[in-house]
Amino acid sequence: MAARAAPRKKTTKKSKVSGKIANFSESEEMKAYYDMLLIRRFEEKAGQLYGMGQIGGFCHLYIGQEAVVTGINMALTEGDQSITAYRDHAHMLAVGLDPKGIMAELTGREGGLSKGKGGSMHMFSREKHFYGGHGIVGAQVSIGTGLAFSNKFNGNGSVCITYMGDGASNQGQVYESFNMAKLWNLPIVYIIENNQYAMGTAIARASSQTDFSQRGVSFNIPGQKIDGMDVRAVYAAAEEAVKYARENGPIILEMMTYRYRGHSMSDPAKYRSKDEVQRMRAEHDPIDQVKMRILEGGLATEDDLKDMDKKIRAIVTESADYAVNCPEPDASELWTDVLIES
């Protein structure tokens, strides 16, 4: 008889979080700070626009998890692809897409990345090798595996970064994909963004094996647990993993991370305590960590960072203005893009 999962004793040994930390140069430190702050300010603005009724439907914010996509993208080379689920705004910013196009998609306007037809969960950019933006939990994992397959097929040397949540990693197709990825040694890095919750479900209530880095064991896919709140640790792991994937085949990185906001805008997040969130913010904030190092190392002054913040806020505000003032798609767009006309 099925019963609710109770907190259980772990029978397997827990993986240790990798202690490897990249030695950031001055410019890397500053870049990581900038990139993460851009994500945070963008997401804050998106939350605000949602509250104003400018963004409809679902809207999943990435606040708290910024170090993950930022560190990973610092380790990629041109041509590497990425794909994720619906919590995707940051992934697009991190691959260098214009905030205006992203924000205008959130508001459903013609200047959006999908001409307003996709919405926040469904955005894509061929130019930046970003393959979505998927609303169906787990679907991106098989698709990402297919992108890696195409890389191997074409011999182009590219790696596909395939992101999924802790919740997604329980879907059956994830394991079908793992098996094929290893069977054919496809160049893919699976990133499990373990933010501790899938909507209101804490990992221990949904997963018999909560050590997600070990989810590839029965497929002979190596895995590592990484402090996903420390962008240097993410970068160090990503650099190695991407190299490994290019040369050998699939690898899993479990990113220990945390989302500060609710699952989506309508989630009151009653399944966790305010304290828990507060503790993560105060002790592990990915942006504060870099900021502290920058100030302590004398890489910039408090005023310099304030200036940077101002610049970023200006970019984000500009994207919001654009997104709100941009016209809705023309009515004729309703009928386009259903099939390619031949």
Binding site: M1, A2, A3, R4, A5, G56, G57, F58, E105, G108, R109, E110, G112, S114, K115, G116, K117, G118, G119, S120, M121, H122, H134, G135, I136, V137, G138, G167, A168, N170, Q171, G172, A198, M199, G200, T201, R205, A206, S207, Y271, E328, P329, A331, E333, L334, W335, V338
Partner: protein
């Protein structure tokens, strides 16, 4: 008795083949397992082994012969001690037909009667309470769970979170974690688990956060739940309810907005229920949970919060398979279900102002379809408009049209008009979404068209 060796069928579709080579000759002694000859089917060359022992008395079909019919005699095997005279009364004969005799056709029996009230009449003097559709659904589940201990509810966020759309509010508290169970995000897995539990004697209610995610699980809904009773010759019933919101919500884009009514309605072995009102929700969900068959119960997220009348009748159960006339009229019949009923009622109101009297049929159940109510209504009005949120091609409207062709062709005064979503994936942009979904004005226009009113 000499044994006849027959041309074997070596694939399910093989009716004839080429006997390419003999590997034995007349007079050879053979034991079972010896290869006698090779034959070519439409797909491959196969060896034919003997299953008997004896001496090859006669080879009747020469090597190299094409088009040898399955089951024709290709050689005679003499048993121990027999001589050639044993073959005297065996003559080469035409092949016996492989195909089974033409089956005799039988009419489909009437749908089995289920043990819920056959009447949907609400007695005079019944009082009503105001409830949201959400509360009506919750009450239906709670009432049934109190009466039947084998019912459990399983799905994503149904327990501690109280349901992603709060439909299972309070159920964990009342029934405990044994019967209200949060799952991992593994739709295919827990849908299959539900089917197995139903085979095992339980009565699962499987909630899909939305039916869009049931596409992950549709194999179990159709191949496992719907077909097993039939495949087991009636042994293995599957009393299960698959429920959750179906169709468009609000601005959640193409992957979260599909109407699956026509998909499930296509499947024999399923019942498909789609309530509109709180009354429907209460009475039909209770019926679904009592039904011995798999029921796909299609709710609508936008209706969850709408408050309507629910009859204060103890144990209020509605019959599955019976439509309801929501509004009587004489000029045109508007047939719909779920959210479409709201559009139809709104349209009927507008039409009334324009002097057109519309009758609104709320299907309630899509499979089995209450063809009688539809046909009777169309016989009266002579016109029909169908309203659905699904796409037009092979949709519910097409089926309803066929029903009317069958049952009321001579009564029709105008071609049936279908109101559906536009034939595109649902766009996110607010303006495009509005254009894509059907609305009351579309229904009005369609009704006026059937009345040649413009």
């Amino acid at each position: 008795m000499a044994i006849e060796i027959l041309m074997p069928a070596l694939s399910p579709t093989m009716e004839e083949g080429k006997l390419s080579t003999w590997l034995v000759k007349e007079g050879d002694t053979i034991v079972s397992g010896d290869v006698l000859c090779e034959i070519e089917t439409d797909k491959a060359t196969m060896e034919v082994e003997s299953i008997d022992e004896g001496v090859i008395g006669k080879i009747l079909i020469e090597a190299g012969t094409e088009g040898v019919l399955v089951n024709s005699v290709i050689a005679i095997l003499l048993m121990d001690g027999e001589d050639a005279s044993a073959m005297d009364d065996i003559k080469p004969q035409a092949a016996a037909p492989v195909a089974a005799a033409e089956p005799e056709a039988a009419d489909a029996p009437a749908a089995p009667v289920i043990e819920v009230p056959q009447s949907d009449e609400i007695p005079e003097g019944t009082t009503f309470k105001q409830q949201t559709v959400r509360e009506a659904l919750r009450d239906a589940m709670a009432e049934e769970m109190r009466n039947e201990e084998n019912i459990f509810i399983m799905g994503e966020e149904v327990a501690e979170y109280q349901g992603a759309y709060k439909v299972t509010q309070g159920l964990l508290e009342e029934f405990g974690a044994k019967r209200v169970i949060d799952t991992p995000i593994t739709e295919h897995g827990f849908a299959g688990l539900g089917v197995g539990a139903a085979f095992g004697g339980l009565k699962p209610v499987i909630e899909f956060m939305t039916f869009n995610f049931a596409m992950q699980a549709i194999d179990h809904i159709i191949n496992s739940a719907a077909k097993t009773l039939y495949m087991s010759g009636g042994q293995m019933g599957c009393p299960i309810v698959f429920r959750g919101p179906n169709g468009a919500a609000s601005r959640v884009g193409a992957q979260h907005s599909q109407d699956y009514t026509a998909w499930y309605a296509n499947i024999p072995g399923l019942k498909v229920v789609s309530p509109y009102s709180a009354e429907d929700a209460k009475g039909l969900l209770k019926a679904a949970m009592r039904d011995p068959n798999p029921v796909v119960f299609l709710e609508n997220e936008l209706l969850y919060g709408v408050t309507m009348d629910v009859p204060e009748i103890e144990d209020f159960v509605l019959p599955i398979g019976k439509a309801k006339i929501e509004r009587a009229g004489t000029d045109v019949t508007i047939v719909s279900h779920s959210m479409g009923v709201k559009l139809a009622l709104d349209a009927a109101e507008i039409l009334a102002e324009q002097g057109i009297s519309a009758e609104v049929v709320n299907l309630r159940t899509i499979r089995p379809l209450d063809t009688e109510t539809i046909v009777e209504s169309v016989k009266k009005t002579g016109r029909m408009v169908t309203v659905e949120e699904g796409w037009v091609r092979c949709g519910l409207g097409a089926e309803l049209t066929a029903v009317v062709m069958d049952g009321a062709f001579d009564y029709l005064d105008a071609p049936v008009a279908r109101v559906t979503s536009k034939d595109v994936p649902l766009p996110y942009a607010a303006n495009l979404e509005k254009l894509a979904l059907p609305n009351a004005n579309d229904v009005v226009a369609a009704a006026r068209k059937t009345c040649y009113a413009d």
